[in-house]
Amino acid sequence: MELDPHTFDREFDLAELLAGMPLARMAQILATLLDGEFRLVTVGGQLMLGRAEPFAQPGRAAIRHDLETLGHLESASAGEARLSAAAGMVELVLQLSARYRMAADLHTETVQEDYAALQHQLAALKESEARYKTLSEELEERVRQQVETLETAQRQLYQAEKLASIGQLAAGVAHEINNPIGFIRSNLSTAQQYVRNLERLAALMKAGDMAQFQAVWNEADMAFVTEDFAALLGESVAGADRVAKIVADLKGFSNVDQTEEEIVNLNDNLRFACNVVAGQIKDKAELVLELGGLPRILCLPGHLNQVFLNLLLNAVQSLPDQGRIKVCSDVLNNEIRIRISDNGCGIPEGNLDRIFDPFFTTHEVGSGTGLGLTVCRDIVQAHGGRIGVESKAGAGTTFTVYLPIG
């Protein structure tokens, strides 16, 4: 069976064991030890070291290695003892050479083995890297889908929030309209009474019964009626005007989805938003407006109305039994600044950082989606502005909206 020539445990011949040895030096030493020329030959008679020409009748000593005779040392000059001592020395050298060779070849074998193992590991690593890559791609896709789902959900929530504020708005409007409608209705029924009196008096006048006419006139206190009738009608006209104004204002909210920009004076929007909440706070709070002169800006008024209304409703909700809401506007550093403050319960410091976060709410569950302030911030940012809050628990809250001019 043929063995790989590099296996460490192979059988060595003399040539291989001598390869790489300092042969010239060895030859010098052997010549000195053996008192002259010598020959180192293999068992097959091949010369390894020393004189090329064979001796006529040399002395011979076997060179043994690993149980076997690998060659002979020949000399014509040295005695037997000296020759066998020199052969022993050569054997020692060969033994050391074999030792070195085996160790070196075994080392190479194991290094190659380790290298193969490393390559195997590398292949395994590459494979797992590929698997990891696929996985991460799948993951990315899943994240993308999740984000999409979330965005859809958020859009729906925004929509719900908008509907909620429109609902509040409707409640406010109903309240606001109910009031004038109520007194107009009551005035009209009083007016019907007055008209009936007038019909009776007209009949007496036609009949020419002036005494009876006078009696009824006095009984019905027609002097007061004529005066009151005018007042009633005046009051009713004013009430109808107010309803008409509210309905006109409502238009500002009917276009929350309108994406067309308009040039407006934001004070008008603030007044309008205040009108809408006024009905809700009439007996609960005082609403103070300090509106400074503002330049007109290009914006989405329906959206900003929603912001102001949201902030005002927030303020209303935070108020104790009796409170005050102040709405200020002015210009500061080329920005419009709008402040809506209340002296309500305030926001605990721990929550301040989070109130603009989606779904964060301090109100009771059910009173809102918790998106109100998030929507406000998004709208303000969409206008290139920013919104901030300052609050002290128990003392009140101020929201400040900054919007760029021009």
Binding site: D9, A98, L106, A117
Partner: protein, 217 residues
């Protein structure tokens, strides 16, 4: 697998002493060198690191001449037991014609024995040998240690009852069981070798004379 050299009329065998670190593999080889008297006996060549630990291997060459005039040469190797030297163990185990597994009888070494034996099984397969048919003897060494410290013979026999390999108890330190272990291995190696190179037919060596020639009777 034995190597047949027609030119030099030589058959070379490789036998490997395997086992956990410090179980007594090198000691086995040393004792064999002292105890055996074959025709031809080399010196133990050791390649060790500091601390007397075997780095690469130990090697003891033994040999005899067959009646046919051939040289049968047996190279006995030990492997380094340290876990880290697995590549070396594999290289030494390659082409082995027989294996002695030297276990340490100390109770505390049971886990090391088991791991080394499993490692032997794995490496035998890795170097392309068949574990079921490779000649193997299991030696439980260090029987001279105090009874409390070592597994009793009954315990060992019970644990290895299902195993097909000869079990030998030894104390390599004092030379007991060492030669027997080796002889049991030679008995198992012979049939494989005979099949491979017709020892009996072509060289006039039967099993008994094979064992006797290698051990020196």
């Amino acid at each position: 697998m034995a190597e047949i050299d027609e030119v030099n009329r030589k058959i070379t065998l490789k036998l490997v002493y395997y086992g956990p670190a410090q179980s007594g593999k090198t000691t086995n080889l040393m004792r064999l060198h002292d105890l055996l008297a074959p025709d031809l006996k080399g010196e133990v060549m050791t390649l060790e690191t500091q601390n007397d630990r075997t780095l690469f291997f130990d090697l003891l060459p033994l040999g005899f001449r067959t009646p046919s005039g051939w040289l049968v040469k047996l190279k006995l190797f030990t492997v380094p037991g340290q876990v880290a030297h697995d590549a070396t163990r594999k290289a030494v185990l390659s082409r082995a014609d027989g294996v002695v597994f030297v276990a340490d009888s100390q109770r505390a070494q049971s886990v090391n024995n088991a791991e080394a034996f499993q490692n032997l099984e794995e490496n035998v397969q890795r170097v392309g040998l068949d574990f079921a048919s490779v000649p193997l003897v299991v030696q439980f060494n260090k029987r001279d240690l105090p009874e409390a410290q070592i597994l009793s013979e009954e315990e060992v026999r019970a644990r290895w009852a299902q195993a097909p390999w000869p079990l030998v108890f030894s104390s390599a330190l004092i030379g007991e069981g060492v030669k027997e272990t080796f002889a049991r291995l030679l008995e198992q190696v012979y049939p494989v070798l005979d099949k491979f190179c017709a020892l009996q037919e072509s060289h006039g060596v039967d099993r008994q004379s094979f064992v006797a020639a290698v051990t020196g009777g």
